[in-house]
Symmetry: C2
Subunit: 380 residues, 2 copies
């Protein structure tokens, strides 16, 4: 397999969901054919990339040996395995220093707090008593979340209002490592995407805002409706974190804007759902810049090329609708960009997204909503 | 193989060069995985598309049987074979009515003239006497061209100044069917891209202009520097031709602007080199709209989203430079979009293209030139 690839830039992508699919496409544009380490033949990226390797995670060492650079689209990989690979000379980008922070949320919180970053109060949860003790100190509601990333389409965060609800979550998720966090009164949820090369050169994208209005689907908008001072602070915070953890590739910094200021919610060391709109709204998408960064190639411009962009995810529901069946109606929404991932519909599964760009946010939002509704077979 | 594809939109693409590669990528964005009918494992599109079928053209019927819709990226297919497929119920888009006009330039000229379109004087060439007779009537230089598309990277047009030159071309290309044309005093060479659905709904892209200035590489620019009246005339002419020949998908209408007015140079019934810049400069690229049109899905907007766009092809030269080797330098040209096709370099071979968009044509042109020069390992 390895000899089928161009001599230059032997990039391996671990994972084969939509992030891998769009990253693969960006690499192909540059004349690079990444190899995929996939799980199933019908995985989103495996459908669109030839020569994917379908193997158990334990076989990653063999795959790594065929790649010059290895990058990751998700956090569901054993960190010890990756550390062993790196020690044996594999070039992981990001490296395990970043990966450990991004993959293990408990460690992430500890490191961030120790470095002086603002994070919510948190505690390890070994059993119900840890939650009760935490609630005694910080009050309900308490946020329970999985320490490691939840599998795609599965829930990883619960807001519990009392002891009964807490015990219910713990009982149902006894197989998962959980942690407790103080509930935040969130004014806004924003995401800063930074892309960084091994040498430290870094750029940030226009700040995106995640909104959840009128009970409608979650919307991702850029630019975020925040003032210049706050935007500068958020951007600087994200760049600091990228340098602190020596991130390579995209580092997505999820921030809560609370009445107390900016609080770090989570870090993800890969292209992020909030950055899908960079495909249409920036000269270089987060996917292309991730490829450039992990291969230590010059970064492309990240400035906004449009006034307003809105993305809405297309998420599978219990009625089992298939967005591909409604492609004609969605494509009829002039100016909306339809991205489908080729997945079999399942409730909670991300099946695609739509992005609309426009001269103003209201127009972009209306287009995106209409297209997303059309994909669900509905009207808006 | 066929059962691996989504139930909807079983699209087959015949050919596996860069046009197929970019068409494939556009389909993937929409959640559609086209199948490729390729020739070699290292073909540009085969590197980026899984499950390509590698077979002799004679095996096309078997491939067609697995596809709902068949489309084409080049003109090097036997027209009789395609007619037989269509008669047997295969859904070719465009259909053989368009294909015959697009694939056979002698037939194209005859049909266009009979319908009253302005074309250069032309004649069939069965031997040297046909050229001499033609030159006696129309004078030298005479344009000699291949009736069928030349293989990629091979020359298909010669401008001969006298009998000796004409005989030399005829002797060297005795294996090819040639035709003679009157040399045109060209003011400009423009291309109008039309995309048309089976029902007749059609749209045209901003008119592109092909220039060849200062002995530099050929440049493709949009919008063409022509007046409103002429642009309207060219656009109407292209839409008329698309309707006349019942084109489906992209029809590229190459026009010469001569001192006598617009003359039809050539028609191509597929995405066209002059439309690569639609990826960055229009809401819907020619590739995505080709996919939409051949699957009879609603067309996307084709208006210009930028003030100026310039594409320069990256063509292999005799010194054997490999643009992939110079990717770092080219990516350092801020704002230029680099597209490489994953091909082994050979003289005359299209290895990639660069597109730059900007607020004005001079700026776009400078960026594109710098990036193209960088890919050749040079400075601009």
């Amino acid at each position: 397999m390895a000899e089928d690839l161009p001599a230059l830039y032997r990039l391996g992508i671990v994972g084969s969901g939509q992030i891998a699919r769009m990253t693969h496409q960006s690499a192909v544009k540059l004349g690079i054919t990444p190899r995929l380490f996939a799980e199933r033949f019908d995985d989103s990226a495996a459908q669109a990339a030839p020569g994917a390797v379908f193997s158990h995670p334990d076989a990653l060492a063999g795959f790594a040996a065929d790649c010059e650079v290895l990058t990751f689209e998700h956090e569901r990989i054993d960190i010890g395995l990756l550390q062993a690979l790196e020690e044996n000379g594999a070039r992981l980008r990001p490296g395990t220093r970043t990966i450990r922070v991004a993959f293990d949320k408990m460690y992430q919180r500890r490191v961030l707090r120790s470095k002086g970053y603002q994070v919510p109060a948190f505690a390890e949860v070994r059993g119900p008593d840890d939650v009760f003790d935490f609630a005694t100190e910080h009050g309900y509601p308490v946020v329970l979340k999985t320490v490691r990333a939840a599998p795609p389409g599965e829930r990883g965060v619960w807001v519990v209002e009392d002891r009964t609800e807490a015990m219910k979550v713990l009982a149902e998720r006894s197989n998962l490592e959980l942690m407790a966090e103080e509930y935040q009164s969130i004014v806004k949820e924003i995401v800063v995407l930074v892309v960084r090369r091994p040498g430290g050169h870094a750029r940030s994208y226009p700040i995106t805002e995640i909104t959840n209005q009128d009970g409608a689907a979650k919307e991702i908008r850029a630019p975020a409706a925040i003032g210049h001072r706050l935007a500068t602070e958020a951007r600087q915070l994200a760049l600091d974190l990228a340098n602190e953890f020596e991130a390579v590739g995209v580092l997505a910094v999820e921030l809560f804007l609370t009445t107390e200021g900016l609080v770090v919610n989570e870090l993800a060391a890969r292209p992020h759902n909030a950055g899908h709109l960079t495909i249409e709204s920036c000269p270089t998408s987060q996917f292309e810049n991730h490829v450039r960064a992990v291969l230590d190639l010059p970064l492309g411009p990240t400035w906004p090329s449009v006034a307003a962009a809105v993305t809405i995810n297309v998420i599978g529901t219990i009625d089992g609708f298939d967005p591909a069946q409604h492609l004609p109606e969605a494509l009829a929404v002039e100016g909306a960009q339809i991205h489908l991932y080729g997945k079999v519909p399942r409730p909670g599964r991300k099946l695609g997204h739509v992005t609309a760009i426009a001269d103003n946010m209201e127009q972009a939002r209306e287009l995106a909503r209409r297209a997303e509704a059309a994909l669900r077979g509905g009207r808006w």
